[in-house]
């Protein structure tokens, strides 16, 4: 259930993000989800891609500082209060969320996908499942 997310350290200077996407594109790797957060000096790019292992090796060999992080993808009904419900479940079981980002995988299903980075992935999966919340299988996420 754990999804392999790549985090890339990027210096805040022009062309670095473009370089990452170019390298991935040239190698036929598709970005499924993306989030970027930054400070004045540096940013962290977080991506979920179609072939995480290959992407990791390619980016490393291109000289990027990359690390793999386990995240979970949760399918949330695309309606008011949808996210709140999930967060409440996690909070009740004291699962700490480090960060999250959302994307809509397939608009026809009326569902949103939210990527969670939590301290304890296994526990979070268990908690969510036992509360009837759908955690998306990693292979499905890569192939979205």
């Amino acid at each position: 259930m754990k999804v392999n997310q790549l985090s890339v350290f990027l210096e805040n200077k022009s062309g670095r993000l473009a370089r990452v996407t170019k390298v991935l594109g040239e190698n036929n790797i598709n970005i499924r989800a993306l989030s970027i957060a930054d400070t004045t000096d540096f940013g962290i790019l977080r991506i979920i891609v179609s072939q995480p292992k290959e992407a990791y090796n390619i980016l490393r060999s291109e000289g990027f500082v990359v690390t793999e992080t386990d995240v979970i993808a949760v399918c949330i009904p695309d309606k008011p209060g949808g996210l709140g419900q999930v967060l409440e479940v996690l909070e009740k079981q004291s699962v700490n969320i480090e960060y999250l980002y959302a994307f809509v995988g397939n608009t026809s299903t009326k569902n949103a996908l939210v990527v969670f980075r939590v301290e304890d992935c296994d526990k979070a999966v268990e908690v969510l499942k036992s509360n009837g919340i759908q955690v998306v299988d990693e292979e499905k996420v890569y192939q979205l």
């Binding site: 985090s7 350290f9 210096e11 400070t39 962290i44 490393r60 000289g63 500082v65 990359v66 690390t67």
Partner: protein, 432 residues
């Protein structure tokens, strides 16, 4: 092993006698042979006969780098050119280089001195030595070469550059001793790691490092990465080149060949002589050099001298490993800052040999230091919190050590320039 027991383990009283005798001679020689010194002595009202022994050395004037530069190229030579068999020169990054000349006897002495320092670092005739110093006007390459040849080692005169090829030679020729700058050793380790070569397959056992100041923590990193004993040696072309002093395996400072050089420590501001155990600027007087003798040469290197007998049995005075220079000292908002201090902090925090650069700038009337540190894979967890925690930790420690606030900037790998020779650590953009 001790290469030359007679001189390296000489009774200190006897040594003083020898130094005195040689000092009197060299003072007379420069007075007779080098117009610059005659003039300088006259200016200071000194007659060569005023110098009766080592105890009178502080009566002599200093020789500065400027004096050497002003007499470019051969003005300070004490022998005619037909006696000079080799020329070397400093890099001349700040204008004209400094040219030094050696007679055949000087070259023999030089090889002897190198033989001493490499022997005390544990190098023997069984070793295969790769010299990754430039063979040119820079004294590092040829200097080490002839001394190592004297010891009987197998030498690979690899010179600088083409790092991958250097590594190939190490593997194929079974190099056991590496001669380079410490920063180049770290860079090579980086390339080795990247190319996936198993360091255990190399036979490297000793590193002879010199030509730039480096910290104790850098030594630890090199030793850990290479699995070798990293030793320091010291020298400068104005005195003879490498071989002025070197570490024995007790690591209690670098033994100075005092039968050839008189070391002193002075207060860099007042020029006043300081005693053993006190920190200050190193000053050397050459006792036996024929081609290019210098009197009380101010090295700008900061060190401490010790004269207690070393556990290795040598009686020669030792100097503390040079980690700073009076001229790489930055004065930031009135505080003295040495790159080596920053380096030590970085090593402590990261637990890794950092590639770093110090950028000094002035905004308004305030000096600012920015320390750029290259990120390494091991430092990156993907979490902001961890990166910020690291920046803060580095900043905090630097603040404790330097008492000024330093900006820390993490940068991407390979963005700071690598060096095959002396690393350039400081970029000073201040226009004063």
């Amino acid at each position: 092993m001790i290469w030359d027991k007679k001189y390296e383990c000489m009774d200190r009283e006897q040594l003083r006698g020898l130094q005195s005798e040689r000092l009197v001679k060299v003072v007379q020689r420069v007075y007779d042979q080098v117009p610059f010194y005659r003039q300088l002595f006259e200016q200071e009202g000194i007659e060569p006969t005023d110098i009766k022994g080592v105890e009178d050395i502080s009566k002599l004037p200093f020789t500065t780098k400027d004096a050497l530069r002003d007499n470019y190229p051969f003005g300070l030579f004490a022998e005619p050119m037909n006696k000079i068999v080799r020329l070397h020169a400093s890099s001349g990054t700040t204008g004209k280089p400094i040219v030094v000349g050696y007679t055949q006897k000087d070259l023999n002495t030089w090889a002897e001195l190198i033989a001493r320092i490499v022997s005390q670092a544990g190098v023997t005739e069984e070793d295969v030595v790769q010299i990754c110093f430039g063979y040119g006007l820079f004294t590092g390459g040829f200097g080490l070469h002839y001394g190592l040849e004297k010891v009987g080692t197998t030498i690979i005169p690899a010179s600088v550059g083409n790092t991958r090829r250097q590594i190939m030679l190490m593997e194929d020729f079974g190099t056991t001793v590496l001669v380079s700058t410490p920063s180049y050793a770290l860079y090579m380790a980086e390339v080795i790691q990247e190319s996936g070569i198993d360091l255990d397959r190399l036979k490297m056992r000793i590193g002879l490092f010199g030509a730039e100041p480096w910290s104790e923590s850098m030594r630890e990193q090199i030793q850990a990465k290479w699995g070798i004993t990293a030793t320091d040696n010291y020298g400068l072309s104005e005195i003879i080149g490498p071989g002025v002093s070197g570490e024995c395996l007790e690591f209690k400072g670098l033994h100075i060949s005092e039968d050839h050089f008189i070391p002193e420590i002075i207060d860099p501001v007042t020029g006043e002589s300081l005693g053993f155990g006190q920190e200050g600027e190193l000053v050397f007087t050459t006792l036996t050099k024929e081609g290019f003798p210098v009197i009380r040469y101010r090295t700008k290197d900061i060190s401490i001298l010790w004269d207690d007998v070393c556990a290795c049995g040598r009686t020669t005075a030792r100097m503390k490993k040079v980690t700073g220079r009076t001229d790489d000292m930055m004065i930031i908002r009135g505080v003295n800052v040495f790159p080596s201090q920053i380096e030590s902090v970085l090593m402590e925090v990261k637990g890794l040999a950092p590639i770093y650069q110090i950028i000094v700038d002035r905004k308004g009337h305030l000096d600012n230091i920015e320390v750029q540190v290259e990120m390494e894979k091991e430092m990156f967890t993907g979490s902001f919190r961890d990166l910020e925690a690291m920046e803060n930790k580095i900043r905090g420690k630097l603040n404790t050590v330097l008492s000024i606030d330093v900006r820390v900037k993490l940068v991407e790998p390979k963005t700071i320039q690598r060096s095959e020779g002396k690393a350039k650590r400081v970029i000073d953009k201040r226009q004063i």
